[in-house]
């Protein structure tokens, strides 16, 4: 009861004064200017790659969670110019590699071809020399995982979202189906 009251109080104050739900909705609806500048084919390629890593299952996958948009915006806005260029160059090189080995763009590949190509990328990344810089495969996988599990779909459906736990349970027994609590920051 105390928790519910406290939450009500906090939400009232914050929602009333600082960030009304309407404002949040507006902010979410406004497309990021960074996103608006992104070429459509790049977003389409990222969407298919991210969705191959985290596809639709019993919960929606990366494409549904718009992880490709997150990746494009974060690479543009949050990485240093060197890391940003490395990422886009890596994406382009990977697409060329796909065309060379599968005979077509990753976007046009079948699910089997995509999986085969990613298995190849994974094998190459694992055997890459340490001084060659982080392989694109790991860059892509890392940002896809982060983007998905911090998206609304990933955070609230794939994981167990508990924004206001209200208490601390230091020890509980779990089984093979227990989902992780969503990390919040």
């Amino acid at each position: 009861m105390q928790r519910r009251e406290a939450l009500k109080k906090a939400t009232l104050f914050i929602a009333g004064i600082a960030i009304s739900p309407e404002l949040i909705a507006k902010a979410l609806a406004d497309p990021s200017p960074t996103l608006a500048r992104q070429p459509a084919d790049r977003l389409a390629l990222l969407a298919e790659m991210a969705d191959t890593i985290l596809p639709d299952t019993d919960t929606p996958g990366a494409k549904a969670a718009k992880v490709h948009e997150f990746i494009a915006v974060v690479v543009e806005d949050c990485l240093s110019p060197e890391r940003r260029d490395a990422f886009w160059n890596g994406l382009q090189f990977t697409e060329q590699q796909c065309i060379a080995t599968q005979g077509k763009s990753f976007v046009d590949c079948s699910r089997e071809q995509r999986n085969a190509f990613f298995r190849q990328l994974q094998a190459e990344a694992k055997s890459a020399p340490n001084d060659a810089g982080e392989p694109f495969w790991y860059q892509l996988k890392g940002i896809t995982l982060h983007g998905y599990f911090t998206s609304e779909i990933g955070a609230t459906q794939a994981l167990n979202y508990d924004p206001i736990p209200g208490g601390w349970i230091p020890d509980m027994i779990i089984d093979d189906n227990t989902k992780a609590w969503t990390p919040v920051f």
Partner: protein, 561 residues
């Protein structure tokens, strides 16, 4: 030029300034609280407190260009992110000079760093207050544990500190709310340490987060988003706790955007008469007068104000007969990180996000554990928890449906220890005024010339060794041992540049935090610290502040000020 009169002036509204304001106002003194930064209201000012990760444009990562331009130093702090960036002072607005690398972390708004602090609260012990006398590094503290103990109790009861009564001399027990219980693997680590390393103890962390509602505040909801400001008022901050108490008396005038240029001094009376303020927005200069002045601007800003208040009587800064002002800068040394994974307890988990972990109080150069490589010692903080599996997923094989399912599972038990080393007071670790480089308000900036020295370096090596041997003894795997090589400043425990002492020839302040030479000026922020100990210092600032106000009020009544 406008003139204004008050009974007392408090410079700064952070951890110690908030306490000075509350205590002065509750004693009935009309008190002006000057804050250099913007207003920030409790609850309504915490604009990101309930924001979900996906509601931030970059899911809580700060943007590169903005960081590079405005926050190159602040962004190094562990608590800086897209959801907290508005709480840090822009480096671009507040320049200083790093003669040697020193990361100066700042929060310029009402409440200061009391909003973003890590809330760890350990009493200092008799052992700490005697350390300088015992080994000859630094001057002797003019107080002992018994002088401050009742004031620790006083501030703990109001602030609300959770913890376990462990009966340890290094961290005396206080007035605790119930502790926040450890995870199963932390208890396992605790037991392994107890069995294998006599003299070392792992205990519950102690922090200023409520585990029971007190004084109308709500207990911790275990979100662990403290750094954004707590809408429940569940952790101690000036904004949520001391400033509301001060405001309730009707005696407080809080003036934001007020940069204190200097303290005004009357040579005939040998008293400070007030302060000169520059309005941060209009640059208007205003003088305020008061009978007593508390400087609580934060260690370096307080030192800067004193240095920038020269007079015929004090050509080197107010009250600086000793030449100690600006010297003996200390921080805590957080360089040593030891972490690992634990493979057992796979069917155990936890719920909620704690605002505190565990603590290993100092054991080196304590009791039978005497070391030759260094004097003093260090504590460890740490935690062992399970995150989500996706955190380590980048380097795990796989992709696709099965991989996705595996990524949604609780992660490995992982965690470890980070060292918190005592730093010795060294004359050459110092700050000076840079008259050549002025800020946008025309004030001289600071040169900071400070580095870790041999004792601190030796301690880092030892922390890495003892930290890893404790994890090994508990059966941790994949142990990683890491020296961050971070410079001083990043500990955000800058202390000592206007130190207390018994002798006016070697220190600035007496046993009551009163300038030896100017009796109506008190300094109770970190600049007053004579040694650094290994404990987080904020609770000690709170206790010293309440104690100094009590003394100042009695002296005022006796008409001695």
């Amino acid at each position: 030029m406008k003139k204004r009169k008050y009974d007392a002036i408090v410079v700064g509204s952070g951890i110690s300034g908030g306490w000075a304001a509350k205590e002065l106002c509750e004693k009935g003194l009309r008190t002006l609280v000057l804050e250099r930064g913007r207003p920030l209201e409790h609850i309504s000012g915490y604009t990101t407190a309930l924001t979900n990760p996906w509601e931030f444009p970059h899911h809580n990562q700060p943007a590169y260009e903005e960081v590079k331009k405005d926050y190159p130093i602040q962004s190094i702090c562990y608590a800086f992110n897209e959801g907290t960036k508005h709480l840090w002072a822009k480096d671009s607005d507040h320049p200083y000079t790093q003669v040697k690398p020193f990361e100066w972390i700042k929060g310029y708004h009402v409440g200061g760093k009391s909003l973003m602090w890590a809330r760890q609260t350990y009493r200092w012990s008799d052992f700490d207050f005697e350390s300088n006398l015992n080994d000859g590094h630094g001057v002797d503290w003019p107080i002992r544990y018994e002088d401050i103990a009742p004031w620790y109790s006083y501030v703990e009861k109001f602030a609300g500190i959770n913890g376990n009564r462990d009966g340890l001399r290094q961290i005396p027990d206080g007035e605790f709310l119930p502790p926040i219980e450890m995870t199963v693997v932390e208890k396992h680590l605790r037991d392994a340490i107890q069995k294998n390393f006599p003299g070392r103890t792992l205990v519950n962390g102690r922090s200023a987060n409520l585990t029971q509602g007190i004084h109308g505040r709500t207990p911790c909801q275990f979100r662990h988003l403290c750094h954004r400001g707590c809408p429940f008022g569940a952790y101690f901050s000036s904004n949520g706790v001391t400033l509301p108490a001060a405001a309730k008396t009707g005696k407080m005038t809080l003036r934001p955007y007020s940069i204190v240029e200097s303290v005004l001094f009357d040579e005939k009376k040998n008293r400070a008469t007030g302060v000169r303020v520059i309005d941060a927005n209009t640059k208007e200069v205003i003088e305020y007068q008061a009978k007593i002045i508390f400087l609580n601007a934060g260690t370096l800003p307080t030192t800067q104000i004193l240095l920038n208040s020269p007079s015929g009587r004090f050509p080197d800064g107010l009250g600086n007969d000793s030449g100690a002002l600006g010297h003996y800068l200390m921080d805590h040394n957080y360089r040593a990180h030891v972490s690992g994974d634990y493979e057992g307890f796979q069917d155990h988990y936890h719920k909620g996000r704690r605002p505190v972990g565990f603590y290993v109080p100092r054991f080196r150069n304590f009791g039978n554990d005497q070391q030759n490589a260094f004097v003093r010692g260090y504590a460890f903080g740490g935690s062992v928890e399970r995150g989500a599996a996706y955190h380590g997923g980048t380097w795990e094989d796989g992709f696709g449906a099965d991989f996705k399912k595996a990524m949604t599972r609780p992660g490995r038990w992982s965690g470890g220890l980070f060292g918190m080393g005592e730093c010795l007071p060294h004359f050459d670790n110092k700050v000076t005024l840079n008259l050549e480089k002025r800020d946008q308000w025309g004030l001289p900036t600071l040169n900071i010339d400070c580095r870790w020295r041999e004792n601190e370096e030796a301690m880092v090596k030892d922390m890495l060794a003892t930290g890893s041997e404790m994890l090994e003894a508990a059966g941790f795997k994949n142990i990683s041992v890491y020296d961050t090589h971070e410079p001083p400043g990043r500990g955000i425990h800058e202390m000592g540049t206007a130190r207390m002492g018994r002798d006016p020839k070697t220190s600035m302040l007496n046993a009551r935090n009163q300038l030896h030479a100017v009796p109506n000026v008190f300094v109770t922020d970190g600049s007053c610290m004579t040694s650094g100990a290994a404990q987080n210092p904020s609770i000690t600032y709170m206790a010293l502040t309440a104690r100094a106000v009590d003394f100042a009020f009695n002296e005022l009544k006796k008409k001695k000020l």
